[in-house]
């Protein structure tokens, strides 16, 4: 596909995911308040990179993307729960997220915690209930094991803990990569792996795609840190320079801005190297690499 077609494809998939997310919530038999709180953050927008990586991977293997939509939505729910909890007063204490008041600013702390708990739990239900003849029970179990690892203490939760423990301390590049590999990288990687599992990828393909996603995840985080310095408040939806103000450990702080940009380029190139080594279509995932390297929000 040419870049315009890829853009059209990704935009169409994004719309599908954004239409589906509130539908899942609306059919829940649960108190209105928790559904409102869950929906509020799901509908706050965002780039939907994780679900798009999943459907992009399915496409790369020549599979119908539609079968990946429920799992893609589950990943977006896990990502959204992590944002809600990270924004809490006792964590990062953020008032704004994507230009809108954070969940606890609207619903209060207790309901924000519960909305996160609800999204996390429901995402496992979504995957366990995937109904498609091509997704066997064995595949669902693999999808759930890998999701729990990516999101739990050995993944995202562990990364957030390491991030909070590292606050105010001078970290090495190794420490910083541990944090981001876990806090952001594992769920990004899972998005690719989940698509590959659904598409019946071989063990060897899975291993290469894991390397691809690993480098993509680090690149994603470096770009995030760079945007905190060079970005536009209107596009990012939160104040510029907040990392520096909060004494956050970032790649530019550790490597200088130029050093961070070099590192970004290195990881994007590595990601592409692994991507091209897998026998499948590459156009959409390559486009997404470039998007992540140059995104302005």
């Amino acid at each position: 596909m040419n870049p315009t077609d890829i853009e059209v494809f990704l935009e169409a998939q994004k719309r599908r995911i954004e239409q589906q997310l509130p539908l899942y919530i609306s059919t829940l038999s649960a108190p209105k308040k928790i559904k409102d709180a869950m929906n509020y953050s799901l509908e706050a927008g965002g780039k939907r990179i994780r679900p798009l990586l999943l459907v992009g991977t399915l496409h790369s293997f020549g599979q119908d993307e539609q079968i990946g939509i429920p799992a893609a939505c589950a990943i977006e729910m896990i990502h959204t729960y992590s944002l809600i909890h990270d924004d809490l007063p006792s964590m990062d204490d953020d008032d704004l997220r994507r230009g809108k008041p954070t969940n606890h600013k609207i619903f209060g702390e207790a309901f924000a915690i519960l909305a996160g708990d609800g999204l996390l739990t429901f995402s496992f239900q979504l995957i366990s209930e995937l109904t498609n003849d091509t997704i066997s029970a064995e595949k669902k179990v693999a999808l759930i094991t890998e999701l729990a690892k990516a999101a739990g203490p050995e993944g995202m939760v562990g990364g957030q803990v390491a991030d909070m423990e590292g606050e105010g301390a001078q970290l090495t590049l190794e420490d910083l990569e541990y944090i981001h590999r876990h806090k952001t990288g594992k769920l990004l990687a899972y998005s690719v792996i989940a698509g590959a599992i659904i598409a019946n990828a071989t063990e060897e393909q899975l291993k290469k795609l894991e390397q691809f996603a690993h480098h993509l995840g680090i690149a994603f985080q470096i770009r995030d840190d760079i945007l905190d310095i060079e970005g536009s408040v209107e596009l990012i939806g939160k104040p510029i320079g907040s990392d520096i103000a909060n004494h956050k450990n970032t790649y530019p702080a550790l490597l200088t801005l130029d050093g961070a940009k070099e590192k970004l380029e290195y990881h994007i190139n590595e990601a592409k190297k692994f991507l091209f080594s897998v026998e499948m279509k590459h156009d959409i995932l390559e486009y997404m690499c470039n998007l992540i390297a140059s995104r302005d929000h």
Copy 2:
């Protein structure tokens, strides 16, 4: 089995579960702090009623209880996560739990939230990784679907939301039962259902056991409310009368203490009626009914 043998059986199972819980945490590749915070609340003791209901149900079907230990531990982790989050300052703001400082009093709010998130997520991994030839992938998927329903917005999370929304308001008996059926009842019921799924129960047996567990769950909650009035602070490990002080909606407040006791007896009798209607051994689950009706902590 006679009552003494049942006590010995339950005590041995409890020990097994309590030995296994920290082993699961210790093998996690995660920052020490999150493992400590998860373990702290898992090791705080408690009656372990949920995991014992699971292994008790397995025993009732003549199955080896050992195959249920990982799932039993997963349920105890979900229960523990819910206690950690419920105790938070923005929720019930409790300083003591089972006679020990609550999780956030020791580890701070942020790590308490993350410890809960970690336990919730890891419990799904535990069930998805159940390795036993008698537990097929289809069974694992069923166990995960039911767990997510019992713990999520349609279950425990929904019940906690309804409970918080009902605070300070005058609730009807119906409102109160909605809260407890969801907040406590669904996970208790799941404990029985999970055991029955692992034991290959029929659809009809599952339905009857669901009714059994439903009544048992309400009885459990009524006894809890009664203990808040009649209990001993040493045995309960938290202040007596805190429900009244916090204007909590309780069965005694709605029905008088005598009315609550009558209701408790009614639900225990209903539970036993459904229990006896299932063709299997009844001794252990009957014993647990009596335990729940008369427990002093």
